[in-house]
């Protein structure tokens, strides 16, 4: 499917935000002290839209994904500001039992490691059936029939036999399909996919992405796809959000973004893609490493690694998001710079 036809098919429902995150900040306490992990996150996912969330390890992508459904343990976290509206309801203010009713029914989640994402002690079909029974209150037989149907939907061959298998009897690709079947079992309006293909080999990766694309079209579901792989994002998403050190650095429609990113960090990521570099050259890499968890620079968080940073300008004041023609960017020099995108 081309990008244009995808946009057209989703057009009628466009405009109403299914998920809207406003000024969300979160601290985590992995040890004794709270560290700032997410800072002033704004994002919006419209009905039927596929939004990509990209960033290095430790940028806060997964924490953000978990926060969307209140899955970060309250014991070790502290919300500093903001709200997360799903269908107009503030998720951060919901009680745990109301959250549980939404999870799995209105929002499905899939994760990176299909190898460990399923309970090794139960048959995979029973695990999916438990989720269906939890949200729909149907009988065992009905749930089982639905499981078989869903397994067919996610292209698991011989679904009756596979439903009776234990996780260790299935390949990584099959397990991820089971996880997808579980996530979409209640036909959610939003699917959060946290690195769904990272642990899979390339062929399986392509199949899983193709499956997700098909399911999105058939079920008119919004998807938040978290990945560190820009190639996957480019292939799959309508819009992209670039995260760095707990902040959203740039938010843009996919087409202008890849050709003309507005944030130096986004530009550096795009140029570091191996497929965009001439063969036999040394790979261009982004020097330095992201700041440690919780470290907050006085100015722009990317300034110390940025080749366009200007002393006295970039490292003095915190930078806020400002609108661009295709989205938003968190860089005070955005209008002065013309940055390179993926190798043209």
């Amino acid at each position: 499917m081309t990008r244009n036809s995808r946009e057209e098919s989703a057009a009628p429902t466009r405009g109403d935000a299914l998920l809207r995150v406003e000024g969300f900040s979160l601290d985590l306490a992995p040890g004794r002290e709270y560290l700032s992990v997410l800072n002033d996150i704004d994002l919006e996912v419209r009905s039927g839209e596929v939004v990509g969330l990209v960033g290095e390890s430790g940028s806060g992508k997964s924490t953000l994904a978990m926060s969307l459904m209140g899955l970060v343990p309250k014991r070790i976290s502290r919300q500093r500001s903001g709200r997360i509206l799903f269908n107009g309801v503030d998720v951060t203010a919901l009680r745990e039992r109301d959250l549980r009713a939404i999870r799995g029914r209105d929002v499905g989640m899939i994760f990176q490691e299909p190898m460990t994402a399923l309970d090794p002690a139960y048959r995979v079909g029973d695990q999916v059936a438990e989720v269906i029974r939890r949200h729909r209150g149907v009988s065992r037989a009905e749930a089982r029939a639905q499981v078989i149907e869903d397994f067919r939907l996610v292209e698991i061959s011989d679904p009756e036999r596979r439903a009776d298998a234990y996780p260790h009897e299935l390949s990584g690709g099959l397990r991820q399909r089971v996880c997808i079947a579980m996530a979409i079992a209640c036909r959610p309006s939003l699917l959060i996919a946290d690195e769904p293909t990272t642990a899979l080999d390339v062929t399986t990766q392509a199949q899983i992405l193709e499956l997700l694309r098909r399911l999105r079209a058939e079920m008119d579901m919004s998807i938040v796809l978290i990945s560190h792989d820009l190639a996957v994002i480019a292939e799959f998403c309508d819009r992209v959000l670039v995260m760095y050190a707990g902040q959203i650095m740039e938010q843009a429609m996919i087409d202008p973004f890849f050709v003309r990113p507005r944030h130096p960090y986004a530009s550096a990521l795009l140029q570091a893609l191996p497929e965009n570099q001439p063969p036999l050259n040394e790979l261009s890499v982004l020097p330095g490493s992201p700041p440690p968890l919780g470290y907050v620079a006085p100015g722009c968080r990317f300034a110390n690694r940025c080749e366009f940073a200007q002393a006295g300008r970039c490292d003095t004041h915190a930078v806020s998001l400002s609108p661009t023609d295709a989205g938003e960017v968190r860089c005070i020099r955005a209008d002065e710079l013309v940055l390179e995108g993926a190798g043209q």
Binding site: M69, L71, R75, R100, A101, I102, R103, G104, R105, G108, M109, F111, E113, T116, A117, L118, D119, P120, A121, Y122, E130, V131, R134, H135, Y166, H168, C179, M182, A183
Partner: protein, 315 residues
């Protein structure tokens, strides 16, 4: 599962044979001579000693005596006590229920302490329950059983007069009295067993609660009761079940002390008595029984493990 059970059952036969051999050799090597003891000591005439030796079958070669021992044991004939002339199987039938009751109640008690304590502790690390579970584990390991038993007797029997301090009432006579008489001994045993079990379960449940599948279950909106009770706890029980199985022989050993403190007519006190009277036949019977108990316990452990973990069944 059925083939696993049968295969595992078949391995019991050689296990028991080896155990019987060890028991036989060990008791034969015991210093002292039952025939001399029977004849009234070293001052007895050689003729009398030889007569008793023939009567007890001690004049036959070791191999023949071992085969006799196994064949008879298999048919339930464990010989006749050297000191009381009572059939060993009758003695066992009388004493085994006491010890079995004690061990069973002790394990139930241990599980009743460990399971809720470990679960709450794992759900709230560094919380109150976590501290209590650590205290239980430490005290269970550190406090000697006989001392703990004496403390219980002092408090509940002598001061409060709630529970009997000694003797045993068979279950068939009066179930309530049976339970009341065994309560303090079972608490003593259970306290010791709960220590290891709580620690093991607390650690393994804490580990499983951090696993990816728990996150998956939570993200699918399952209730905490299902996530913890049905999913995490089931897998976490694996190591705990192993611990339980390994504790059976320890529990029987502990019974020797506990039966002495509470004056219970069980296997433990019988074993001590048999050792002092050089009653090899009784000793063999008692040890054979405890070995049987341990072997069966390890069989049940494996079975439980296979029930919990489907991967074990295929191997």
């Amino acid at each position: 599962m059925l083939t696993f059970t049968i295969r595992r059952l078949l391995t019991l036969v050689p296990q028991l044979l080896v155990a019987a051999l060890v028991v036989f050799v060990l008791t034969s090597l015991l210093p002292g001579d039952a025939a001399i003891a029977r004849a009234g000591g070293e001052s007895a005439t050689p003729e009398l000693i030889a007569q008793y030796r023939a009567q007890l079958g001690l004049d036959k070669p070791l191999v023949e005596r071992f085969i006799d021992f196994v064949v008879h044991a298999a048919t339930g004939d464990l010989g006749i006590s050297f000191s009381t002339s009572e059939p060993v199987s009758d003695i066992l039938l009388r004493k085994v229920p006491v010890t079995l009751s004690l061990v069973l109640l002790g394990f139930i008690f241990a599980i009743l302490i460990a399971l809720p304590l470990a679960t709450i502790a794992a759900l709230h690390p560094r919380g109150i329950a976590d501290r209590i579970s650590l205290a239980v584990a430490t005290s269970g390991i550190a406090i000697p059983n006989f001392w703990f038993a004496i403390l219980l007797v002092l408090l509940f029997s002598l001061t409060l007069r709630w529970l009997p301090a000694t003797s045993y009432v068979p279950f068939s006579t009066d179930p309530l009295q049976w339970f009341l008489h065994l309560l303090l001994p079972a608490i003593t045993l259970g306290h010791a067993l709960a220590a290891e079990l709580t620690r093991q379960l607390r650690a393994s449940l804490g580990d499983h609660l951090r696993r990816d599948y728990v996150r998956t279950m939570r993200s699918a909106g399952l209730s905490e009761i299902s996530v913890v009770g049905k999913h995490a706890l089931r897998s976490a029980l694996g190591p705990a079940v192993t611990t339980l199985g390994l504790q059976v022989p320890i529990a029987i050993g502990t019974c020797v002390v506990i039966e002495a403190v509470f004056d219970l007519p069980g296997i433990g006190s019988q074993m001590v008595q048999a050792v002092f009277s050089r009653d090899i036949q009784v000793l063999q019977g008692v040890i054979l029984f405890t070995v049987l108990l341990v072997v069966v316990a390890s069989f049940l452990t494996d079975l439980a493990y296979a029930l919990i973990n489907p991967k074990v069944r295929v191997q």
